[in-house]
């Protein structure tokens, strides 16, 4: 009886104490389980084949036409060189990326291109995170879905800063490969540009967190191996943004990670100067 009386007398202490205990019981075991899962590699292998069945027909059709037009391209490798293009090149381009590409989306002024970008995006949720707003509705769809509905000629992808502390360079590569293969299946004619992960500044690097250039370089080296130089290319914007110490130039950024809007132009120029022109 005394306890009940006290609860009535001190309702706030009682409520906080009681709810904290309940919270502790539920949160702590859950929290520890979570922590151990994120250390290992996330499992998000949605049924690729199933989703693919819709597009099989059209893919086959496209391959046929391709063979008709240019039988040589199937068997022989052409040596492509990066060339300069004008903005119209991006009319049928798609950019996939995290907050850094959000900056490109918001400040590049490329209204002709398409952007599937979101803050905090990682390679593990690139395909299935629902981030693309469907016009006229409140619904959002995933990149996997969107790539079944729309066709692109060029697909750029830069994802990798958020997951630096997650997985290993090899598991990152594996997942990246999976994403590229899925995109390839869904968009067989698109030129895919794998963008090297942009460096952080030396100051950010020296903070000693997992956000550092050594980790970025290690993963970029893995990404480079994914290029087949025929339809998948690797481009490294860091050459245009680094200072003499191999970090993102301090002047270009406030937080050491994101380009200031006024320096997005450097990235734009780099993209425009490093395009692959394929004969129609």
């Amino acid at each position: 009886m005394k306890i009940i009386k006290n609860i009535k007398k001190y309702p706030y202490i009682s409520m906080i104490a009681l709810s904290s205990v309940i919270f502790g019981i539920y949160y702590i075991p859950h929290h520890f389980v979570n922590a151990s899962v994120s250390a290992s590699i996330p499992i998000q292998n949605a049924p690729v084949d199933e989703a693919m069945s819709d597009v099989h027909a059209s893919t086959a059709a496209m391959e046929e036409t391709k063979q008709d037009n240019d039988p040589a391209s199937v068997s022989e490798n052409i040596v492509y060189e990066f060339q300069k293009a004008d903005v119209d090149y991006f009319n049928d381009a798609l950019f996939i990326g995290d907050s850094r590409s959000v900056g490109l989306f918001e400040y590049a002024g490329w209204d002709n291109a398409t952007f599937y970008v979101e803050n905090g995006l990682t390679i593990w949720d690139t395909l299935d995170k629902e981030l693309i707003p469907l016009e006229g509705t409140k619904e959002k769809i995933s990149i996997r879905n969107a790539l079944q509905k729309n066709t692109f000629g060029k697909i750029y992808i830069m994802v990798g800063i958020n997951e630096l502390g997650r997985g290993t360079p090899d598991s990152y590569l594996e997942e990246f490969k999976n994403v590229v293969q899925t995109i390839r299946k869904l968009q067989p004619n698109a030129t895919i540009y794998i963008e090297a992960v942009m460096h952080v500044t030396i100051k950010k690097d020296e903070e000693g967190t997992y956000i550092n250039n050594a980790g970025i370089n290690e993963r970029n080296a893995k990404l480079e191996t994914l290029a087949d130089h025929q339809s998948v290319f690797y481009i490294d914007v860091n050459s245009a943004l680094d200072d003499e110490n191999g970090g993102l130039n301090e002047a270009y950024t406030f937080d050491g990670v994101h380009l200031k809007a006024s320096y997005i132009g450097l990235w734009k120029t780099f993209l425009l100067e490093n395009t692959i022109q394929k004969p129609d």
Binding site: I16, G120, K260
Partner: protein, 474 residues
């Protein structure tokens, strides 16, 4: 360890409170002292030695200072102690600033006049947590002994508890020893006080997490974008966002400190009293960071003669006080400029403006609505070239106030993301809200509201834990 962390709320605090309350009354200061050292060690495992050395040396000086009668010797000892305390503060907080600026000066001479001065390398120093606060506290203790306002503390544990107690160790409020030593010796604990303290803590926590952090995100975002790329309306909006952030952050922290103190039976002084409702800068600074203002008044302004030696001397005294106040906030030119701007405003008010402001109703609030946020920009932006850039954004050469002026994509995006938080912040700056809280804080509806706010804050904290960066993920 900050108060607004899972580690503190569900780790340190409950364990500490349990130990504190199962311990008999007379050992509770020991628990508080050692608990506070553990609290400090979480953030600063090395500099804890500095804190303890400072405590012991000042304790000894205090006893000597009280024991000596010869005027000259007392003065000498005081001088030594001030040199020691401010020397430490200078070494850790300001040394690099001075080295950098001397180097700039030398380089200028080298370039302009072909001298060959050698520049001094910078030293790598990390600022010890809370040093600005505990230095001021211990100096106030020594000065009070010197002015014979109080006796020296003979019990080292008592002085240590005062200096180190975790509710105020890291970011104030600045507690004066003569205001709290009685409570340290004999204090009462009651469930009523505990409950009240917990409520105050919740207010502070939600103020920080639910209001200050979202407002801070907008300010952070604008900095990431770069000032040169934002529209004028967004520059204005972000300036108000920072104005809210700094208030709800700092007041939130102070409320958490006061609440924690009350849970332990200690009275920690109020630090904010509806500052944004002030009608003049003079009044504002009596309501903002009250304990710091009090410290400067008590230990700098009044010993210098205050306003008793004519208006020239008054202006000089204000100049010194506000330069120091500016500099206390950080070792950088912008803080000094900010302090000087406040000095100019307060001087103008003291000379003539205040008389007018006090008679009017609406105009003073409009004046404050402009002047205070603008002064915060000097505070918030470290690089002088960026300050210039920001003011150019706020006041562009040509303004065409048509509808299209406000039709900026960046403004619309910011409003859609942060509008709700900014509106809530604006409302909560109205004094009526705190009257309502005080009137109804024991009613069940208010208790339920606090309860919801507490768990909402925790929810936000958890999502921030999963996200290693304070503001937003990449």
């Amino acid at each position: 360890m900050v108060f607004s962390s899972m580690q503190f709320i569900f780790g340190f605090l409950p364990v500490f409170l349990l130990l504190y309350y199962i311990t008999p009354n007379k050992y509770r200061n020991a628990i508080l002292f050692f608990g506070s050292l553990i609290f400090y060690a979480f953030g600063e495992p090395v500099y804890i030695i500095l804190l303890l050395v400072s405590l012991y040396i000042n304790y000894t000086i205090g006893i000597y200072l009280a024991g000596i009668n010869a005027h000259k010797k007392r003065k000498l000892l005081l001088l030594f102690s001030l040199l020691f305390n401010f020397g430490m503060l200078f070494g850790f907080k300001y040394l690099n600033f001075f080295i950098d600026n001397i180097n700039l000066l030398l380089q200028y001479f080298n370039n302009a006049y072909h001298y060959h001065f050698i520049t001094v390398p910078n030293v790598k120093i990390i600022l010890p947590l809370g040093i600005s606060f505990y230095t001021f506290q211990i100096v106030s203790y020594l000065l009070d002994i010197y002015y014979k306002k109080m006796k020296a503390e003979k019990n080292l544990l008592m002085l240590g508890t005062y200096l180190c107690m975790f509710p105020q160790l890291i970011a104030g409020p600045i507690v004066i020893y003569k205001d709290i030593y009685r409570e340290l010796r004999h204090r009462t604990h009651s469930p009523e006080m505990f409950e009240d303290g917990l409520k105050t803590f919740t207010l502070g926590l939600s103020s920080k997490i639910l209001i200050a952090n979202p407002c801070g995100s907008l300010w952070h975002e604008v900095q990431v974008i770069g000032f040169e790329s934002i529209s004028t309306p967004l520059a204005w909006l972000s300036m108000f966002a920072f104005t809210f952030q700094i208030y709800f952050d700092f007041n939130g922290y102070s409320l958490m400190a006061i609440g924690l103190g009350r849970m332990l039976g200690l009275t920690i002084p109020k630090n904010f009293n509806q500052p944004y409702a002030s009608k003049s800068v003079t009044e504002f600074w009596k309501r903002w960071h009250i304990t710091l203002g009090h410290w400067f008044r008590e230990y700098v302004y009044i010993p210098m003669g205050g306003n008793r030696n004519g208006s020239i001397r008054l202006i000089f005294n204000l100049f010194i006080v506000w330069s120091l106040t500016g500099f206390w906030h950080g070792a950088s030119w912008n803080f000094l400029i900010w302090g000087l701007a406040v000095f100019v405003l307060i001087t103008i008010e003291k000379l003539f403006l205040l008389k007018w402001l006090e008679q009017l109703y609406l105009l003073p609030h409009i004046y404050m609505l402009l002047v205070i946020p603008l002064s915060w920009m000097l505070f918030a932006i470290e690089k002088l070239s960026d300050i210039k850039l920001y003011f150019e954004k706020l006041f562009p050469h040509t303004v065409n106030f048509s509808m299209s002026f406000f039709d900026q994509p960046d403004l619309i995006k910011a409003l859609s993301e942060y509008g709700l938080f900014l509106a809530a912040a604006l409302l909560l700056c109205i004094p009526a809200f705190s009257h309502i809280y005080n009137k109804y804080k024991n009613k069940i509806a208010m208790i339920l509201l606090l309860f919801v706010m507490f768990w909402l804050s925790v929810y936000r904290l958890i999502s921030e834990v999963n996200n290693p960066f304070l503001y937003f993920r990449f």
